[in-house]
């Protein structure tokens, strides 16, 4: 450190910090260089809206995968968001601080479990249950939605708790002093004040659900089909890239990169919305 001096350390750190950002930039540039030309060659409309995906016949319509990704994400939201928000409210408002300080890190640990493990549990436990209860192949859109719903819960819970706890105690006291019950305070005041953080947690969860690959490949069955029921086998955008990239050449390979471009744009949009929402934690009208 002495060798480098104050200025030197500063410069070194800024290089390190910059390299992280440039990695993001390089990934973006790489995907766009590989994917964009295809989009214009093939036609954006045909690519996004056609449901004919036959790489060997030169047909590259990703609409079935877009629909699958959308429905799996929506299903995951319907399962994960209400449970996650309810859990966050319970932990932030209704249990003693000491209990929360044990449970919250435990929930955050869920995010550290490799997604292949989630996929494994989905295949071994969940898919047979779905098959027995509702029929169909079991490996399905529904299985994907449930597994992803569980996988996004740590994100939703953790960020929602942080934003609930960021609501000043004085607001709660003011509300209770006016004769509000604990639940009325949560419902009329705290969740409203923490709204932007809760919304952000849901959007980040959506990003996670759209981007998840391994668990989804394992539990959704991977048929290229526009889903008509939650029990059907579907293939998401991410699964499509992962499954076909290893042997794709030429146009096929370019089409997969173009799929990456689509995903990249969707996720950048979701994350930007979320970070704007997180920045204004307490809503001041």
């Amino acid at each position: 450190m002495k060798l480098l001096g104050e200025k030197g350390v500063e410069r070194l750190l800024s290089v390190v910090a910059f390299s992280a950002i440039s990695a993001l930039g390089l990934i973006a540039v790489f995907i766009f260089i590989e994917g964009l030309p295809f989009l214009f060659k093939y036609g954006i409309k045909d690519f996004l809206l056609s449901s004919d995906w036959r790489p060997d016949a030169g047909k590259f319509g990703i609409y079935p995968m877009i629909a699958a990704s959308f429905w799996v994400m929506l299903g995951a939201m319907l399962i994960g968001a209400p449970l996650g928000i309810a859990g966050a409210i319970f932990l932030a408002e209704f249990v003693p601080k000491t209990v929360m300080n044990i449970i919250k890190p435990a929930i955050e640990l869920l995010a550290a479990i490799p997604s292949v493990i989630y996929g494994f549990i989905g295949v071994v436990v969940l898919a047979p249950v779905i098959r027995d209860l509702f029929g169909g192949p079991g490996l399905s859109l529904l299985a994907g939605a449930i597994i992803l719903g569980i996988m996004i819960m740590p994100t939703v819970i953790s960020i929602s708790i942080d934003s609930l706890l960021a609501v000043p105690v004085s607001f709660r006291e003011g509300s209770l002093a006016l004769g509000a019950t604990k639940w009325q305070t949560v419902h009329m005041l705290t969740t409203k004040a923490a709204k932007s953080g809760i919304v952000a947690s849901i959007i980040l969860g959506m990003g996670r659900a759209i981007g998840e690959t391994m668990a989804v490949i394992m539990v959704t069955g991977n048929s290229v089909m526009i889903p008509h029921s939650p029990l059907e086998s579907v293939r998401t955008l991410t699964a499509n890239i992962a499954l076909e990239m290893s042997y794709a050449i030429g146009m096929h390979r370019e089409a997969l990169f173009a799929t990456g471009v689509v995903l990249f744009i969707v996720i950048i949009i979701l994350n930007s919305i979320a970070s704007v929402a997180i920045r204004k934690k307490v809503i001041v009208k």
């Binding site: 004085s170 006291e173 209770l176 006016l178 001041v284």
Partner: protein
């Protein structure tokens, strides 16, 4: 001054503990209706703790315990049958730090009413105007009721808090050093409002500003180290205190 013997709150042998430390010691006194009781005393003498025990706000903290009785209109407020939320609607409190809730001025005022299920727009409008007027705030905010309460100045927020309590039409209003963070003009506004309000309500005012008690209180109580040293008519406390500690405090010899 005309003295009406109409006991609103009766405090009997009250001891309050926080984590087994006795904070208030054997309090015994009465608060009459339609009067302002000023409570003075140095910091740490238990004034705020006492005030918060009157609408059970103390219960929000852990390790807190009371024995003895506090009777409001003859009924023990610590009775297990009694609903604490309706008690807090009857006994409103204004805190030392003005805290508007993060919503519009209008919604701040009707917050408590909405809790009680009042939803008639006309009635709410009436109450908003009445409460804000009583807190001397109406003229300043009447054209911007949809503005966030958090945008108001400290003095305005404190009057908003008072108006919020008034909207509930409580029996008793507790004020915990309501002017400690306010400028002299805002303080005057609050004091004028209180003098007007005692016609309808019973008011207990905790203050670090001895002169404030002298200005607005009918009765004054002096707390020291968790004990009630002396209580009496404000005039008597400030001109002819019985106890030496009281006169020492008032004349600024300690505290």
């Amino acid at each position: 001054m005309q003295q009406e013997k109409n006991i609103k709150i009766d405090i009997r042998h009250v001891n309050i503990f926080a984590r087994d430390v006795k904070i208030l010691k054997d309090l015994n006194f009465e608060v009459n209706s339609n009067q302002i009781l000023g409570i003075i005393g140095p910091a740490g003498s238990g004034k705020t703790t006492f005030l918060r025990s009157l609408n059970r706000m103390n219960e929000l903290e852990t390790g807190w315990r009371i024995d003895g009785q506090i009777l409001l209109d003859g009924k023990d407020i610590y009775d297990s049958e009694l609903d604490v939320n309706s008690l807090r609607k009857r006994v409103g409190i204004v805190f030392a730090l003005p805290v508007a809730l993060p919503m519009s001025i209008y919604e701040n005022i009707v917050y408590g009413l909405r809790l009680s299920g009042v939803s008639d727009k006309k009635r709410l409008d009436e109450i908003v105007e009445k409460s804000l007027s009583a807190a001397f705030l109406w003229d300043e905010v009447k054209d911007r009721l949809s503005l966030s309460g958090l945008r108001l100045s400290g003095g305005q927020q404190q009057r908003l808090c008072l108006a919020r309590v008034l909207a509930m039409e409580p029996d008793v209003i507790l004020l915990d050093e309501p002017c400690s963070g306010l400028d002299p003009i805002s303080t005057t506004w609050i004091e004028d409002a209180l003098t007007e309000l005692k016609k309808k309500y019973t008011i207990i005012l905790v203050t670090n500003n001895t002169m404030q008690a002298a200005r607005v209180a009918d009765m004054t109580a002096f707390f020291l180290m968790g004990e009630l040293i002396e209580i009496g008519l404000t005039k008597q406390i400030f001109t002819a205190p019985v106890k030496k500690e009281t006169s020492d405090y008032i004349t600024g010899r300690f505290g």
